[in-house]
């Protein structure tokens, strides 16, 4: 995927920070320390998280340090930080971009995508990044349309689904308001709004926290100090493995490896992993049913809140951090494309985004709709304090 970019003339400026092994929603788990968002609350200089795991990419783009950045998304790691930083981030359909060369986290969920300043830039970048790759057996051979041409295309007549299950109990009023605002914008642009039901929505996050850690526990087994990376000596090979992996992995990664190992282990596989994969089939089926009924795209909030402070969620139990992904994981579980577009600012002056979910390989429609929202919402830039 990066080879495509260099071949098309992109220039690499450097590498960016992220949550360790892409596991996190705030970029606070990095070995190199947390990323500070370029955004601050009005009248405050509290350091805020940019979201995660692609917090470095989102921040660099938001701070205009670079024109665009690559990122990966397994449960929302492109879309959530894009929403927190007022940038555009798209996770393409599973199989659209090659996963070869991407440090694997959860193989059936990982996808690479761009984070950019606006919808058009994101479209340009994705057109370059996307291609089939014989080195990735899960990459799909489907022609890459001219995404840039889709930006600015009329959205008249497109049917936009509004899933009732995303209207969470206690949903932040500002976010709910912005969602309604988005609905109105699209209506004004000529789209047709339809209430839809995705009945298994609430089970996506728990199912994700079984499937993703399970795959990760296996994908991360290769980090054992034998062929590369940190090796901490031990009395024998087992001791060496245990020391190296204990020292080399951060707490969040260890948590997920242990959960993943547990849910695959003898006696628990059926109850956890197998069941979660069945629920996943149901989640995907929910979307397919809606698309078959004529829905072209689905509009939802991107995140349940605006960005929070670095360290704010430190003491909380891990699940609270996971809830950041409640609107985004459904998309990875179903293998669909999803884009986050800045839609407004919170009362405290922080970006809020909306998410559009599309049919498989119909990123073009997402760029068209994203463009429509962007046109109505305007652009948002962080005030430079750095």
């Amino acid at each position: 995927m990066t080879a495509n970019l260099w071949a098309d003339g992109a220039v690499m400026l450097g590498k960016l920070n992220m949550d360790e092994f892409a596991m996190g929603s705030s970029n606070e788990t990095s070995y190199y320390g947390p990323v500070k968002s370029p955004w601050r609350k009005a009248g405050s200089n509290m350091a805020l998280v940019p979201g995660g795991s692609s917090g470095g990419s989102a921040s660099a783009v938001a701070a205009r340090i670079c024109a665009g950045a690559t990122a990966t998304d397994t449960g929302g790691s492109i879309r959530q930080p894009a929403a927190f930083t007022g940038t555009v981030g798209i996770k393409p359909t599973y199989g659209r971009c090659s996963r070869w060369g991407i440090v694997a986290f959860a193989s059936s969920l990982d996808q690479a995508g761009p984070i950019a300043r606006d919808v058009r830039d994101a479209a340009i970048l994705l057109k370059s990044m996307a291609s089939v790759d014989v080195k990735d057996s899960t990459s799909v051979d489907v022609p890459v349309p001219d995404y840039e041409a889709a930006v600015g295309r009329s959205v008249k007549g497109l049917r936009i689904g509004i899933p009732k299950e995303y209207r969470l109990e206690g949903l932040n009023a500002e976010i709910d308001g912005l969602w309604q605002q988005g609905i109105d914008w699209l209506k004004d642009a000529g789209a047709e709004i339809v209430e839809i039901s995705l009945p298994h929505t609430k089970y996506a996050l728990p199912a994700y926290y079984i499937v993703a850690p399970a795959e990760a526990s296996s994908n991360l087994a290769r980090y054992d100090g034998v062929r590369y990376g940190l090796r901490v000596p031990g009395s024998d090979i087992v001791d060496m493995y245990e020391n190296s992996r204990a020292a080399g992995f951060g707490a969040e990664v260890k948590r997920r490896i242990l959960i993943g190992t547990y849910v695959l282990s003898a006696g628990y596989y059926d109850a956890y992993y197998l069941r979660a994969q069945k629920v996943r089939t149901l989640i995907k089926r929910d979307f397919e049913t809606c698309f078959e009924a004529g829905v072209d795209a689905i509009l939802t909030p991107a995140t349940p809140s605006a960005a929070f402070g670095i360290g704010e969620k430190a003491g909380a139990d891990p699940v609270e951090m996971y809830l950041n992904d409640v609107f985004t994981v459904t998309v990875n579980m179903a293998g669909l494309p999803g884009i986050a577009v800045p839609a407004g600012l919170s009362g405290e002056g922080l970006p809020l985004g909306l998410q559009l979910i599309g049919r498989p390989f119909d990123e073009a429609t997402l760029f068209a709709l994203g463009g429509a929202i962007e046109k109505a919402a305007g652009r948002f830039a962080a005030e430079k304090w750095w």
Partner: protein, 492 residues
């Protein structure tokens, strides 16, 4: 659930202190697939090589690397399934078998757990006095591991990943074997089938075929006993020895009132014993799950049919044809078809010639000589044409059978055209009755007392045959000599 299909056969029982015992054996054979590149990577699958030379970044499990399946390995597995008369599964799934070991770079082996590429099949064994049908449970594709070398350094092991990722077919038999002889015959037959198909070279010394042998004992017809697994047996001979030792070891324990601990053991060929592999903590929990980097393997019946159409004649069919068309004995047919090259050699020799004579010469003289010199047929100094010509020379009475053996020796050691050699070295047998009669008369005349004794005791005429043969430099046709002597002496 183990299903017992064999009837207990007292001939195979082991006699213990408390009575008879029956051995129950099942085998998992790992056969390296003959292919140019590995199962999921484009690195070479060739045996040997400098350390870590046949290793790609995928095999080394570098971050971000992904598996891509080799079409030929899939075909080889299907061909093998067809050779085992087994069910071919059009849809199969690759699973990860997770465990930590330095020669397993990914920390998991890509294998097939619940949905293998090939299902149930059969291997037929021709044992003395009976035909044994051994059930095959399944065949699946999986990655081979690398090699760890433990004895080159006091505290460190050396790891070479050349073999890591090479395609293996794991062929699992049902527990249908009941003696070490049957087990050896099964391995031998499996090896023959794989070599015929060209799907594995069956070279056990190089490790391209290895067996994990499950052995248990029980009272004849009784409940299956607890089994022990003898891992990585790399010769047919060792397989037999290991089974014999292990069965007796288990019987000894049971007769002493003990119980068999289910464990993994290794065969030590120098001592001829099996040893427990000191337990690797608790039993492995492999946490199998479908590999998310791969999709289910799917192909249609047309794919299978195309492969079936390209299969060579299989050993059992060839053997049956040899018996029917050439009239050779079942045993000889088995020997001739053990290797495809042998069978082809025989057919070349037998073409247009007497089949039984051809079989006799091929098996006794030709194979005998090859075995004596430890040569493969491909290294034979004698061609089928040359051997055929020797047989022709006997058939048209140019030489006797005895002279033919001398001729065989000359052609083997020096090469050359048999017919020309016979001429140039004057090996032509004497069939001219007149000449033989003259020689016979001379010998009889020179030995009147022996002649009288022979008239009384006809078996003594053999001495005269010997003398006449000597007189004619061995070239006289022995039959003719015999007849003429008998006629001259007036005996029957």
């Amino acid at each position: 659930m183990l299903i017992d299909t064999r009837t207990p056969d007292p001939k195979k029982f082991i006699n213990g202190a408390t009575g008879d015992w029956e051995i129950v054996i099942g085998m998992e054979v790992h056969a390296q697939v003959t292919s140019k590149s590995k199962l999921f990577s484009g690195a070479s699958a060739e045996y040997g090589g400098a350390p870590n030379a046949h290793v790609s970044l995928v095999d080394a499990a570098m971050p971000g690397m992904l598996p891509v399946i080799n079409e030929e390995c899939v075909k080889q597995a299907v061909r093998t399934g067809l050779g085992l008369k087994a069910a071919i599964n059009h849809r199969s799934v690759f699973d990860r078998k997770n465990y930590f070991y330095p020669d397993l770079p990914q920390g998991y082996q890509i294998s097939q757990f619940k949905q293998p590429i090939v299902g149930e099949g059969t291997v037929i064994l021709d044992m003395p006095g009976e035909t044994v049908e051994v059930g095959v449970e399944r065949l699946h594709l999986e990655q081979d591991a690398g090699k760890s070398i433990h004895d080159q350094h006091p505290t460190m092991s050396f790891v070479d990943l050349n073999r890591s990722g090479v395609a293996l077919m794991e062929i699992v038999s049902k527990p249908d074997l009941r003696s070490s002889d049957e087990a050896k015959a099964y391995l031998s037959k499996l090896r023959t089938i794989l070599r015929y198909l060209g799907t594995c070279d069956g070279n056990m010394e190089e490790g391209s075929m290895r067996a994990d042998i499950n052995v248990s004992v029980r009272k004849p017809g009784g409940e299956f006993g607890t089994r022990c697994e003898i891992k990585n047996v790399n010769s047919i001979r060792f397989a037999g020895q290991a089974i014999e030792y292990e069965a007796r070891r288990q019987i000894g324990i049971l007769e002493d009132g003990g119980a068999i601990a289910q464990e993994t053991r290794l065969f030590d060929p120098r001592e001829g014993v099996t040893r427990s592999m000191r337990s690797k903590e608790e039993a492995h929990d492999y946490r199998y799950f479908p590999d998310p980097d791969l999709l289910p393997l799917e192909f249609d019946q047309a794919f299978v049919d195309a492969l079936a159409a390209g299969l060579p004649e299989l050993p059992d069919d060839k053997k049956a044809r040899f018996i029917a068309d050439y009239g050779v004995t079942p045993y000889d047919a088995m020997v001739l078809t053990l290797e495809q090259a042998s069978a082809d050699f025989f057919e070349k020799v037998a073409k247009g010639r007497d089949a039984k004579t051809s079989a006799n010469w091929v098996i006794n003289e030709f194979f005998g000589r090859l075995n004596k010199e430890g040569k493969e047929i491909s290294a034979s100094p004698m061609s089928a044409e040359q051997l055929g010509e020797i047989i022709d020379l006997i058939a048209d009475n140019t030489i006797s059978g005895k002279i033919a053996k001398d001729l065989f020796e000359i052609v083997w050691l020096e090469g050359g055209n048999p017919r020309e050699l016979v001429e140039s070295r004057g090996m032509r047998q004497v069939t001219d009755t007149g000449a033989i009669e003259a020689a016979v008369d001379e010998v009889i005349a020179a030995n009147p007392d022996k002649a009288e004794q022979a008239k009384a005791k006809p078996t003594l005429s053999g001495w005269f045959v010997g003398q006449v043969m000597k007189k004619t430099g061995g070239k006289a046709n022995p039959q003719a000599v015999n007849e003429i002597i008998k006629a001259r002496l007036g005996i029957e």
